[in-house]
Symmetry: C2
Subunit: 331 residues, 2 copies
C-alpha cells in the first residue's frame, strides 16, 4: 500500500446546515458553539424547526482528511456509513476529494448514516447537534491494519469516545500505529466531549498521543482550570507536541522545547466557523507529515482554517495547495 | 383554503451541485447550459466523475414557489417525491420556506426522489443532468383541486411535458384553473425541452396559457427562428402576456399592448446561474398576483434573479422581501 501522510478515524457525518438567529438557539435550548449528541426525536424536532438547509459532507476527522488531500498530501479515512443516500453522498465526496476511503457501508437493515444539524448564527458561529446513526458501529475489524500502518500519522477524533464500539476502534488504531512506529494525533473535538471523558482522555494523552489538538475551551476543560496558560503548561508536560487553537488569536504550538505563537490568517468575513479546527489540524498535520518545521505547520493550519470559515460548510471550496503556493508556504 | 398567489406544479428535485471546468464538459459530452434527462447509469457515471458536491433542494417550479414565499406571497407546490432521504430534504426545505406542500411521497418501494447533477463552470454557467426518478409519477389524482383553484395563478413548468403521466397532471391543473377563472402561467424550461414538444407547446400556449415565460433560446426554438425579434413578435400574437428573459440584457415584457424592456439587476459576481429563470418567474408572478404593473413585476423578477445567481444553489439565501423593500419595490 502507498504510504499516506495521515489516516483519520472518525464519525462519517453529513452536515445539514441552516441559518438561524440567537433567539432560535435560546428558544430551543441550544448551547451556542457546542456539539451536542441528540437522539432521533430531538433531531427531527430541531430539523422541522430550523428552516431550509444545505447538505454538505462533514465529520471532523473526514474534514481533516479532505483538507490534507486538498493540500496535496495523501490521506485516508476510516468511518462507518449506512447504505443510504446520505452514505452515498459521504462516500462520493470524500473519494472524489482524493481521500482513500474503503470502509464498507453497514449492510441493510441498519441505522441511517450519521448527520449533524449545524445552526449558523449571523456572527458565523456554529452550534451542532449530531445524530450519530450507524457511525459508531465501527468495529475493530473495520480498522484496516495495512491502511493504518501506512500512515505517517494516525489521527483520531475525540468524538469517537462517545460510543464504546467506536472507542474500541480508536484504541485498536492507536495500537497498530504504535507497533508500526507511527505517530498518533488526537483532537479533543469539543469541551463537552472532554467533560464526558476527561480521565480517559488524560490517560490516553499521557500513554499514546504524540500530537494533541485542542481549542481553549477544550484544553481548559481537560485540565479543569480557567487559565489557558495553566492548561497550556500542563499540555506541554503531558505531550510531545500540542497545537492549541484560539480562534482569531491564532494558535500556540508547544513542542521541541519551544512555545510558538502563530497568528490567524485574516478573513474578510467569517461566514461559518464549522470545520475551523478540523482544517487547522489538516494544515498542521500536512506540515508535520511533510517534514516542515513547527512554525510552517502552524501557518498551514491558519491558512486552511481561514479558507474554511469564509464559506458555508467544512470542506474546502478552493484547492488549499493553490492557496498555500500563492503564500509561499509550499513549493 | 386560503387563497394562494401562485401554485406551481413541477418535478420535485434535489440539486447535486459541483464545480467543473470546460474540459470536463467536453470530455463527458455535456451540452453547456442545457438540461438533459439522463438514465441511472449515466447519472452514476457523471456523479462518480464530478468531484465533491453540495446538495440543495431544487426543481424549477419548486424554486419559483419558494421565491414567491420569500417575497412574502402565499405559494404552493405540487410534485412527487419518494419516501427516502432526498424526499425528506425536499419536503423539509420547501415547507420550512413557507410553501404549502401536501403531495404525499410515493409509497415504498418506488423509484428514488429525482435529482439533478448541476455542473457549474468558472463563468457561473450551469449545465444540468436530471434523473427524474419518481417525480413524473404525479397522477391526476395528486393535483389537489382545491389547492389549484385557490391560486390566482397556476404555474406549470415545461419540464413536466417530458413524461406522459406528468403531462396529464399538467393538463388537469390547467383545466381546474380555467374552470375556476384563474390564470395559467407556463415556463418553457429549456430549449431542448421545447424541441421535444414544440407542436404541443404551441397549441397549449394558444389555447390555455395566460402568462408565458421563456429565455431567448427557448422562444427562438419554439418558433424555429434565429431572430429573437421575430420570436418575440410571434409570442406577442399568441399570448396575453409574455416575459422573455435575456440574461444580462434583462427581460422583454409583452402585454397590455406594450413592449417593456426591464434591465437586469447588477451582480458583483455571477457565481451560479442555476435558478435564474425560476426566480425571475417568482418575482414577476409575485408582482402580477399582487396587482402590480408589468414594469414593477419585471423589476421584481430582475431582483430575485440577481440574488439567486450571486451564490450556489437555486433557493434564496436572503429574504427577497427585505431586498425588495430596500429597493422600494414593495412597501
Amino acid at each position: 500500500m502507498h504510504e499516506h501522510y495521515v489516516v483519520a478515524i472518525g464519525n462519517a457525518i453529513v452536515d445539514i446546515i441552516g441559518r438561524c438567529d440567537e433567539a432560535f438557539l435560546a428558544r430551543h435550548g441550544c448551547a451556542k458553539g457546542s456539539m451536542q449528541l441528540v437522539d432521533w426525536t430531538r433531531t427531527a424536532q430541531l430539523y422541522d424547526a430550523m428552516g431550509p438547509t444545505v447538505e454538505i459532507s462533514g465529520g471532523s476527522g473526514a474534514n481533516t482528511s479532505v483538507g490534507i488531500a486538498s493540500l496535496g498530501g495523501r490521506a485516508g479515512f476510516i468511518g462507518k456509513t449506512a447504505d443510504d443516500q446520505f452514505g452515498q453522498i459521504f462516500a462520493h465526496d470524500i473519494r472524489t476529494a482524493g481521500v482513500t476511503f474503503t470502509t464498507p457501508p453497514a449492510p441493510e437493515p441498519s441505522e441511517p448514516t450519521g448527520r449533524c444539524l449545524v445552526l449558523v448564527t449571523p456572527d458565523g458561529q456554529r452550534t451542532m447537534h449530531t445524530f450519530l446513526g450507524v457511525s459508531p458501529r465501527l468495529g475493530g475489524g473495520e480498522v484496516h491494519p495495512a491502511l493504518v500502518a501506512s500512515a505517517r500519522i494516525v489521527y483520531l477524533e475525540g468524538y469517537l469516545f462517545d460510543r464504546p464500539e467506536a472507542k474500541a476502534a480508536f484504541r485498536q488504531a492507536a495500537d497498530i500505529a504504535a507497533k508500526a512506529g507511527r505517530q498518533v494525533a488526537l483532537s479533543l473535538s469539543d469541551a463537552f466531549c472532554v467533560d464526558r471523558h476527561r480521565a480517559e482522555f488524560q490517560a490516553l494523552i499521557r500513554s499514546s498521543v504524540d500530537i494533541l489538538f485542542a481549542n481553549e475551551a477544550e484544553i481548559t476543560s481537560l485540565y479543569q482550570t480557567r487559565s489557558f496558560e495553566e492548561a497550556a503548561g500542563r499540555a506541554r508536560a503531558d505531550t510531545r507536541l500540542a497545537a492549541l487553537t484560539r480562534s482569531e488569536k491564532g494558535s500556540l504550538i508547544l513542542g521541541e522545547g519551544r512555545a510558538i505563537t502563530v497568528p490567524a490568517d485574516p478573513v474578510s468575513k467569517v461566514v461559518d466557523t464549522t470545520g475551523a479546527g478540523d482544517l487547522y489540524a489538516a494544515g498542521f498535520l500536512f506540515g508535520i507529515a511533510a517534514g516542515r518545521d513547527l512554525e510552517a505547520a502552524g501557518r498551514l493550519g491558519s491558512l486552511a482554517a481561514a479558507e474554511i470559515i469564509s464559506h458555508i460548510g467544512a470542506r474546502p471550496e478552493t484547492k488549499l495547495a493553490d492557496l498555500a503556493r500563492a503564500k509561499g508556504l509550499i513549493a
